[in-house]
């Protein structure tokens, strides 16, 4: 052994002896992420340092969205993992361009009581979207009762969940872990699987990093993981749906974008409906104003149009959002409960629209 190597080894050994356990933990397993077969246990990817999946490994960055999808009030923890030396390319529209080997990690959890959100949190599932050479691949891991191990469930699962909500009401329902086809039903545009949330406009907000609050796009740029982004104030921004300082219409459109736009888009699964709810759409007809249903069936609720301006109770869109009946409720996937606050937002938005006197509104 050459002297330099020997000294290094000695130093490492001494370090290990001096502070037991301080040796750097093994990094995220890049080859395991890229393997065509999902790992038998979430821990195999080494995305987290602990068995319970709470403490992210090096290179696994937490992030948040300005306006997320509602999922039965589940608390979601989101992380982006990027392989060493790789970067994300900025895109003004659509999801950012992630490098091969990147993984988007999202854990769904429920506190027993939302009035004490930090206590008795039950982690249900952790979903991975992995950018492989041939495209994105989705897999979801379901946590065991001991919260020590998560294993893949390709065919989906229903799990009884119950919690006390912020107003003290007990909510009990069958939570649906999606199967891999269902992942694609929301995550595919024109048949191609991909991320939905992490687009510039929905990431363009402040995150509370350990080192202090900072805009996410700015932070990623500053640490060298995002290329080509303009300063955050020059980038597009999805409003926060719950930021009452924002105009009502902006918040409502942001909510519909996040909760409906992945399917109700020109390349989404509901493209045949002619109802398009992404933020980029501007034509009131395709946004549902005065739009008659095509294949709604009982989802019409005996109402005539998707949005009847000034009349939320006459608007199919609101009726289906408020429903929890399969075949009526929208979104079709991803929720079993109604989202009271989201429904209230859309109700207020439709109520505030000037009522029309045209023939399209009864």
């Amino acid at each position: 052994m050459r002297p330099g190597r020997f000294l290094l080894a000695l130093a490492l050994a001494a370090g290990a002896a001096l502070c037991l356990g301080a040796a750097p933990p093994p990094p995220v397993d890049d080859s395991r992420l890229l393997d065509p077969t999902p790992a038998p246990s979430l821990a195999d990817y080494r995305l987290f340092l602990d068995a319970g999946g709470r403490r992210p490994n090096r290179g696994v960055m937490p992030y948040a969205l300005n306006t997320p999808l509602f999922s039965d009030y589940a608390v979601k923890r989101r992380y982006l993992y990027l392989p060493p030396g790789s970067t994300v390319d900025y895109r003004a529209e659509g999801p950012l361009a992630f490098p091969v080997g990147a993984a988007l990690v999202k854990t769904f959890a429920f506190p027993a009581d939302f009035r004490k959100p930090g206590e008795a949190v039950r982690v249900i599932e952790t979903r991975l979207l992995i950018r492989k050479a041939e495209g994105w691949s989705a897999v979801t891991y379901v946590w065991n009762a001991d919260q020590t191990r998560a294993t893949p469930r390709r065919a989906g699962l229903r799990l009884p969940v119950s919690f006390v909500d912020a107003r003290g009401r007990t909510r009990a329902f069958d939570y649906a872990v999606p199967n891999v086809n269902q992942c694609k039903q929301c995550h595919a545009q024109a048949g191609e699987l991909g991320p939905i949330g992490p687009r510039a406009r929905n990431l363009n907000g402040v995150f509370d990093y350990p080192g202090g609050a900072e805009n996410q796009l700015g932070h990623w740029t500053r640490i060298g993981r995002l290329r080509g982004a303009p300063p955050p104030e020059a980038a597009p921004r999805t409003p926060r749906w719950d930021d009452t300082a924002q105009p009502l219409a902006s918040r409502a459109r942001a909510y519909l974008d996040a909760n409906c736009g992945h399917c109700h888009s020109r390349a989404g699964l509901a493209s045949n409906s002619g109802l398009y709810l992404t933020l980029e759409e501007t034509d009131p007809d395709v946004l549902g104003v005065g739009k008659r249903p095509v294949a709604a069936g009982k989802g019409s609720g005996d109402l005539e149009v998707a949005i009847d301006p000034g009349h939320p109770a006459r608007s199919i869109l609101l009726y289906r959002m408020a429903s929890t009946e399969p075949g009526v409720m929208m979104p079709q996937l991803g929720r079993s409960l109604g989202h009271d606050e989201g429904v209230a937002l859309i109700r207020d938005w439709i109520a505030a629209m000037p009522a029309k006197t045209g023939a399209t509104t009864p």
Partner: protein
């Protein structure tokens, strides 16, 4: 091949053929949901997912996203996919991959649609039964079989009962055959909407509110429906009171409609038996609602109707102005009804007149002579003639599916 250990116990996988196409056997049982969905996910192109006889109690919609897979049961009275306790998803079975065959099974009581395909090429639905077993109810699902935005669609020997919209519905698709099928106790028996090229033949459509509908609607990605042949069908006794939820287009279809063509072109209706339909045997009408889509044409045009056998129809017309018209004609409407509309107003306010070009070989035919699109029949100024129009209209070519399409 390898399967997760958990599945080897329940899936008997047999290698078959040099290409390695497999048959994955799935039995009914308490874990049917996960087993069947897993089989649909684990299938590889060329595989058959074979469902044993029995009742599969399912808690969620199923989906298939693998090309060239056949899903086959033991027969539409033997293998039953039962969605009575469905908790999520709108469809019984959703297909999003090309070259799929579903055959020899039943789908019961799906919460919305029975079997849907979206955006696929070559979908064959063969020898199926899709049924809402509680009879006609507004709370039943919408469509029995529902290919949409698809191409090369084969619907053969399919029975649908109880759909609160259309039993057999094909929308925004092209190159379609619906044959040898039976639709009964639905709001609409068979509906071809916003489609390009369809042959609807040798079907029985009975005891629906409306028998066979050829429609085009505004505001959709594929519009301008055309080239449909409706022939050799029995469209008889469509007498179930329309039970569609309001707001849906079919809610406006009069109970007792035989064949209805709305806002479409190059539609040929011939050699059918059309009997016992209280509102009308054949109706040619413009889209009734207002619309904002500048590309939309709401008129039926280039329509041929000939060689049909009409029994007793039009004796109980179920639309505004209908009973008065029937009295005018001595108790029953003539078998063919045209609203006479050839003028509509574009959303920008410009009025356009398009000659209808009709070839109605035998009638009598009642031209209601309504003045404009959207006008109710109460304003009719009817004129009855033995035939109507002598336009020379080339029959749309017979639909041919790709020679390699499975299920033919």
């Amino acid at each position: 091949m390898t399967l997760p250990i958990a599945w080897t116990a329940v899936l008997a996988v047999a290698l078959a053929g040099a290409a390695g196409a497999r048959t994955i056997d799935v039995p009914p049982g308490p874990n049917a949901q996960e087993q069947l969905q897993a089989a649909l996910i684990d299938a590889r192109p060329g595989d058959t997912v074979r469902l044993a006889a029995g009742r599969f109690e399912l808690s969620d919609g199923l989906s298939l996203d693998v090309a060239r897979v056949t899903v086959a049961g033991a027969g539409p009275e033997k293998t039953i996919l039962a969605f009575d306790h469905q908790k999520g998803e709108a469809e019984g079975l959703l297909i999003t991959s090309n070259q799929v065959v579903v055959r020899d099974l039943a789908v019961e009581n799906a919460r919305a649609n029975g079997i849907k395909s979206k955006g696929v090429d070559q979908i064959s639905l063969v020898n199926l039964r899709v049924e809402w077993t509680g009879g006609p109810r507004a709370t039943n699902g919408s469509y029995g079989v529902y290919p949409v935005a698809s191409s090369n669609v084969l619907i053969d020997r399919v029975v649908v009962r109880g759909a609160s919209d259309a039993g057999i519905y094909v929308g925004q698709s092209r190159n379609i055959i619906v044959q040898n099928s039976r639709a009964e106790f639905n709001v609409a028996g068979i509906e071809i909407e916003n489609c390009y090229g369809a042959d609807v033949h040798d079907n029985v459509s009975t005891h629906n509110a409306g028998g066979i509908l050829i429609f085009d609607l505004p505001g959709l990605p594929q519009m301008g429906g055309h080239s449909t042949r409706v022939f050799h069908n029995r469209v008889v006794d469509n007498d179930t009171v329309n039970f569609a939820p309001k707001g849906n287009t079919v809610a406006g279809v009069p109970t007792g409609t035989g064949v209805m063509v709305m806002a479409n072109r190059d539609v040929h209706v011939f050699d059918n038996v059309i009997d016992g339909n209280g509102s009308s045997a054949v109706m040619l009408v413009a889209y009734l609602q207002s619309f904002t889509d500048p590309a939309y044409n709401p008129l039926p045009r280039d329509i041929a109707v000939h060689g049909n056998h009409y029994g007793r129809n039009g004796f109980a017309p179920d639309f505004a102005g209908g009973p008065a018209l029937a009295r005018t004609f001595g108790g029953a409407l003539p078998p063919v009804l045209w609203d006479g509309v050839d003028t509509f107003v574009h959303p920008d306010g410009a009025s356009e007149t398009i000659p209808a070009r009709l070839a109605i070989g035998e009638g009598p035919v009642a031209n209601l002579r309504l003045k404009r699109q959207g006008a109710p029949a109460t304003g009719a100024d009817p004129q009855v003639t033995p035939t109507l129009g002598s336009a020379v209209l080339a029959e749309p070519p017979a639909i041919r599916l790709p020679a390699d399409q499975a299920g033919q």
